[in-house]
């Protein structure tokens, strides 16, 4: 009994914090989705009106399409590049500390700094990238200024900024693969590609699945880069779900519709988060 009291005394801070800033907002988010709020009179229950309103908004479809394309591209780049990088790094026996340091350095930069820096690099005139391309005699890019290249340009920024974590997590997983497996595969006549397919990937499958899911959950919530670098343009080509959510809540002051959009995002991401937790739990047991 006394032990229970002490325990709940020690837990009280966490219980209050979770109640106020996690559990209650979850409930409130759901109820808000079915309400209209104006902060003057009591909120009105409006049923599915907020959802209907979202569906009528042409930007709703655009935002989801952009977010899915962004997530897919970020998965190919933000997952493929760290995988390849880690596999190469694992083979190198010199300057390992340097490689780790350098690849992780961008992760430490505040995302706002990264976004503003890259906006400058992408400047079609004196910007770094077009200057290098001109120097090499190659055609220059339109980067953020064209609706056909803006989204890809943002994916490149987020990959540069975040690939350090995935690379180092994957590198740690690679180092747990017993060397005998490679030797055995080699004796069986397996070439490098076959060794990657039959040893490296199966041996690190768990980490690969986990990194992929984490990547999806993180990129579907992308906000800072489009907010700062493009503001959703040109021609809505980089408007994401979160950018639309921000507009509904803090530009149109329509908290009901913004909550409805959050709920939809939650439903989509919940599937991935649940998969992620199931994967990690299984590895823990």
């Amino acid at each position: 009994m006394r032990r229970n009291l002490t325990a709940y005394g020690l837990l009280s801070g966490a219980l209050v914090a979770f109640a106020l800033f996690s559990w209650y907002p979850i409930v409130r988010g759901v109820t808000l989705s079915f309400q209209q709020v104006n902060f003057v009179t009591a909120p009105d229950w409006v049923g599915w009106d907020n959802f209907a309103k979202l569906l009528r908004d042409p930007q709703f479809g655009t935002a989801w399409r952009n977010t899915l394309v962004f997530t897919l591209l970020a998965l190919v780049l933000g997952f493929g590049v760290p995988f390849a990088t880690a596999v190469v790094l694992n083979e190198l026996r010199h300057a390992r500390a340097y490689f780790r340091l350098v690849v992780y350095l961008p992760v430490m930069l505040p995302p706002v700094v990264t976004a503003l820096l890259w906006k400058w690099f992408y400047d079609p005139g004196p910007g770094l990238f077009n200057s290098v391309l001109r120097e090499l005699g190659l055609p220059t890019g339109t980067w953020l200024d064209s609706s056909s290249t803006a989204l890809v340009s943002l994916v490149i920024v987020t990959t540069w900024a975040n690939m350090g974590s995935a690379t180092l997590i994957y590198l740690a997983a690679l180092q747990t693969i017993p060397g005998e497996l490679y030797e055995a595969a080699e004796l069986d006549g397996a070439n490098v590609v076959q060794r990657i397919r039959h040893v490296t990937i199966p041996q690190t499958k768990f980490v690969l699945v986990m990194l992929a899911l984490l990547q999806v959950v993180a990129t579907m919530q992308v906000f800072t880069e489009p907010f700062i670098m493009t503001g959703g343009g040109p021609e809505d080509s980089t408007i994401t779900v979160l950018l639309l959510l921000y507009r509904y809540a803090f530009v149109y002051n329509d908290f009901g519709s913004a909550s409805a959009l959050s709920l939809l995002l939650f439903a989509v991401l919940g599937v991935f988060s649940a998969l992620y937790l199931r994967t990690t739990r299984r590895a823990d047991a």
């Binding site: 002490t6 540069w160 060397g179 800072t224």
Partner: protein, 276 residues
């Protein structure tokens, strides 16, 4: 240890190529900014750009500091980061200890309810959290960052997992000596948990320094804003050389932290990442 390929003739070729690509991709852009900030605005607009400044203006860094009043925003960010670090530890350490070692009635239900919040994408809670903070009258106050930071299930998970590995006999011995649960926590558990506390601490500070969307929402008052929020506000009307210098200055504390605690950060990354 044996890896994918036996070291062979191509080793030095691959090594050199990796070295060049890594340095060019991750270090050169940062060096470009560091040096670029010291070019006068007219030189920055030139096509093709100069590699090294023709006119060095190192004072740009001091000018940027004054022009954007960066001292104020550094202080604001520091208050936010240190405060949320302190609140997170003060809340998570006792909670994880209670759940791990005192195992109270319904403790597993509480833990489950906390861990369930890990499934929530942060974005889904932005609107109701904002309204809650607004109802509590905490907008434009550092507490708007501190208090929600305390509801961090990941900290509790990480700490509880570490505490679970502390042998019960050790705590039993302390109890025999007459130490209560709180004394045991302070005298025995905290000192031996330094490695995990270091990881939680560094991640708390880094996360607070990097955060953007939440501070953007809760700090509408320019005087209270953090560096990230202030920099994006200044960006459109600040001369490019001053902006670049400001971006460099805002990143320095994180880079310094990384260089100082590299081992902890990289160790925490794999510990937290793989099992997180």
């Amino acid at each position: 240890m044996r890896t994918l390929v036996k070291p062979g003739r191509s080793y030095w070729f691959v090594f050199t190529a990796t070295m060049v690509v890594f340095t060019a991709t991750f270090l050169l852009p940062l060096a470009w900014v560091l040096v670029g900030a010291m070019k006068p605005p007219a030189e920055l607009a030139r096509i093709p750009p100069t590699v090294l400044p023709e006119t060095w203006v190192p004072e740009t860094y001091a000018d940027a500091w004054n022009f954007m009043d960066l001292g104020r925003y550094f202080l604001n960010t520091l208050v936010v980061a240190v405060g949320s670090w302190a609140v997170q530890l003060a809340v998570a350490v006792p909670a994880a200890y209670a759940l791990s070692k005192l195992r109270p009635l319904l403790g597993n239900v509480v833990l489950g309810l906390m861990l369930a919040t890990l499934m929530l994408p942060a974005a889904a809670l932005l609107v109701p959290m904002y309204l809650t903070i607004s109802d509590l009258g905490l907008l434009n106050s550092p507490t708007a960052i501190w208090f929600p930071a305390a509801a961090n299930a990941f900290n509790i998970y990480l700490l509880k997992r570490f505490f679970d590995q502390i042998p019960d006999e050790l705590l039993e011995a302390a109890r025999m000596d007459g130490a209560g649960p709180v004394t045991t926590l302070v005298r025995i558990v905290v000192p031996i948990s330094r490695p995990v506390l270091a990881v939680v601490s560094i991640f708390a500070v880094v996360a607070a320094w990097k955060d953007f969307i939440w501070p953007l929402l809760v700090f509408s008052d320019p005087a209270e804003q953090t560096l990230s929020v202030a920099l994006q506000r200044f960006a459109p009307d600040t001369p490019i050389n001053l902006l670049l210098a400001g971006l460099v200055l805002a990143s320095l504390p994180m880079v310094a932290l990384f260089l100082a605690f590299q081992r902890h950060i990289l160790a925490g990354l794999t510990a937290g990442g793989i099992k997180g």
